[in-house]
Symmetry: C2
Subunit: 397 residues, 2 copies
């Protein structure tokens, strides 16, 4: 594998887009600390902070480890930081003034860190800057689209590989292990980034037979069994059986860019009722895609999918059992597994070229099985393009 | 594997111990939201919040999913929660009063969540309750010690398995995949819990040859290469070679309880210089253990290890290269990979029976290799007991 770096012009464009939003919202400066955001705006995921003024060049403060940060980042001003307390003096030196209003990532920054920052950073007002960051990251560049296509290639090969290794007697977790080992050989980074502190993202959401019918704490139609009450979601220790529907929902990551894809598998044969539900999921999926193009409000896509599921006779099972239905059918994806825009009932994001999202119409037959599909799509100037390379079919192995 | 549950008397004892600390610190109530803390104090990791008053029974609020929470938790009062806004009224109903001072987990709770909680929870004062939680969790019960011994058994078998599969040409990541697949078959849950929002814990810290000599952003002697600049630590895509030192640092988790263990491997033979460094690490490790018993301040253990490393001629390499040395030699471990007490230069925790910690004296030969060892120990009434089952030796395969 070639050495991977984020190009300097990518970084500059991202900073410019963020600064535009800051100017429009009268924010004087942003201090970016979360590791994925830092990587997005600086090209390095070393331990540090990025100060972005509303205008002018940013400063990258590196706590550890300077030699790697210098090699990885195209930011011009990179400073070796001994203490967070030194930041205001360095900003003052460089720009001649301190920001009155300072944006921080309130959606991830813990209260205790914020309390400490407030004692040392000397801004007059602290504001939540996370939306500006997330809305900048929401629109992918041509270079980013290329990265996601490379991830999709690995994921496509991994699904093919699973066809050859799936067999009765493997546990869900073991099947996950085999497929991850295969994907890692191709560059899969194994760790999925989740933004929310309560979310534990993992690439092993494999729910076989009745485990697919288990609702749980996840904001997903089904949670599965998990390995224990301490981790009650995703693949568990149940062995796969021939003739049961197996939902395989895989996250794959290459150079920080994720894909998230689901296919239904069965060993030998898929029971008729499950087969029909799987096919209906694909019909819903195709119906939604007919409407994907710039200008469409994401909630319309959600509503459309619900109508279609109803028309096909799956109102009861669609998106989970009554009382526990999820209110989304997909989500933006990129450097984190779940990004803006979430394709949800209560979201008014309007599709724009460069958005990349997963589409995942799923059904839960409680205590019986799950059915569904998930692929990743790019919004283009005129419609959409499929980023995923996995065939849109039911995998009977 | 048997169905795993946290016994009711465990939960009651934990609540009692937390309440004692709350009473000693004049805290009227705690609202526990972080998923691992919630699991520790309630026995369920479903989506919810636990309210613990300074005296009396707690209330478990469940957002999703009630049927599993009811089955998993021994908390008597479990309430189906529609909205966080309903919490004060439910507390008022149950206890007849609202807490004036309310503890929250400031070390993990994001600012935006806290801002929202403040608008609805109606306490007069909000305080950081995380230390009370972490210091309760720091002392393990006999039942918890048993759980960690079960995890250690799986880890021990996994290290043995690695002896048989390690071979030249495997990438670091692929070796990690093979060992994780093996461990998952035995119940390994694969996901390691890290508390800090900036920490991405993973079970594949395998650093071969010169990758072991790579310092990086991690608060660890060496970070390794990682798979890309987007994830610049841990195993990477480098192929293993015969005759190079390979540091294998594995995290294993069963039913939520972690182990963290390191052994040095070499295929064929270990170079003499590396072999001597590995042996010296074991000598430092043994020297520290001679002093492990109740009443000892953890910083003394740290200082002792530094003296011993110096006496053995490894002052330069011990704990990382000059300017980048870490200031700890181990850490508490349990439901999270890193817990109290950290065995660090600047910590004054006094060892108590029931503390469980990893001990990891490590050395970095910059740009060449890492050497070291790590096992997990329990502090007993009179000294210590090794929880780890991995032989204390250098694995020449």
């Amino acid at each position: 594998m070639d050495e991977f770096h984020v190009p300097a012009d990518e970084i500059q464009t991202r900073i410019n887009r963020l600064q535009k939003k800051m100017q429009d919202n009268n924010l004087d400066g942003m201090l970016i600390v979360q590791r994925v955001d830092l990587f997005y705006f600086s090209g390095t995921a070393q331990n540090g902070l990025l100060y972005v003024p509303a205008e002018g060049d940013p400063i990258l403060f590196i706590k550890k480890y300077m030699p790697r940060a210098l090699k990885e980042s195209s930011i011009k001003e990179i400073v070796d930081l001994r203490s967070i307390r030194d930041i205001p003096a360095i900003i003052m030196d460089f720009y001649g003034y301190l920001p009155e209003s300072l944006g921080l990532e309130f959606d991830v920054l813990p209260v205790s860190d914020f309390n400490f920052y407030q004692t040392v950073l000397k801004a007059k007002r602290y504001l939540d800057g996370s939306t500006f960051i997330l809305e900048t990251r929401m629109i992918k560049s041509a270079w980013e689209i290329e990265q996601m296509e490379k991830t999709a290639e690995i994921s496509g090969k991994t699904f093919e590989y699973m066809r050859s290794v799936i067999r009765p007697g493997l546990t869900e977790m073991e099947l996950a292990g085999l497929s991850e080992t295969f994907a890692r050989r191709l560059g899969h980074g194994a760790y999925l980034n989740a933004r929310n502190y309560q979310t534990r993202a993992y690439p092993w959401h494999i729910l076989s037979g009745k485990n697919g019918g288990m609702v749980g704490f996840l904001d997903a139609p089904a949670s599965g069994a998990g390995t224990s009450v301490a981790f009650p979601s995703g693949a568990g220790n149940k062995q796969l059986l021939a003739g049961e529907p197996v939902m395989v929902d895989l996250g794959t990551v290459l150079n920080g860019y994720h894909t998230d894809e689901t296919r239904m598998f069965a060993i030998g044969n898929m029971p008729d009722r499950a087969m029909k539900a799987c096919q209906a999921s694909i019909e819903i999926h195709d119906k939604v895609l007919e409407h994907v193009k710039p200008g469409v409000v994401v909630s319309e896509l959600f509503n459309l999918s619900v109508s279609e599921a109803g028309a096909l006779g799956y109102a009861r099972e669609y998106l989970g059992p009554e009382g526990y239905k999820v209110t989304f059918i997909g989500h933006g994806i990129g450097l984190e597994l779940t990004e803006h825009p979430v394709i949800a009932r209560d979201r008014d994001y309007v599709l724009e070229p460069g958005m990349i999202f997963s589409l995942e119409p799923k059904m839960v037959f409680e205590n019986e099985f799950s059915a569904g599909i998930e692929s990743v799509f790019l919004v283009t100037e005129t419609g959409y393009r499929m980023i995923s390379r996995v065939p849109v079919e039911i995998f009977i192995c």
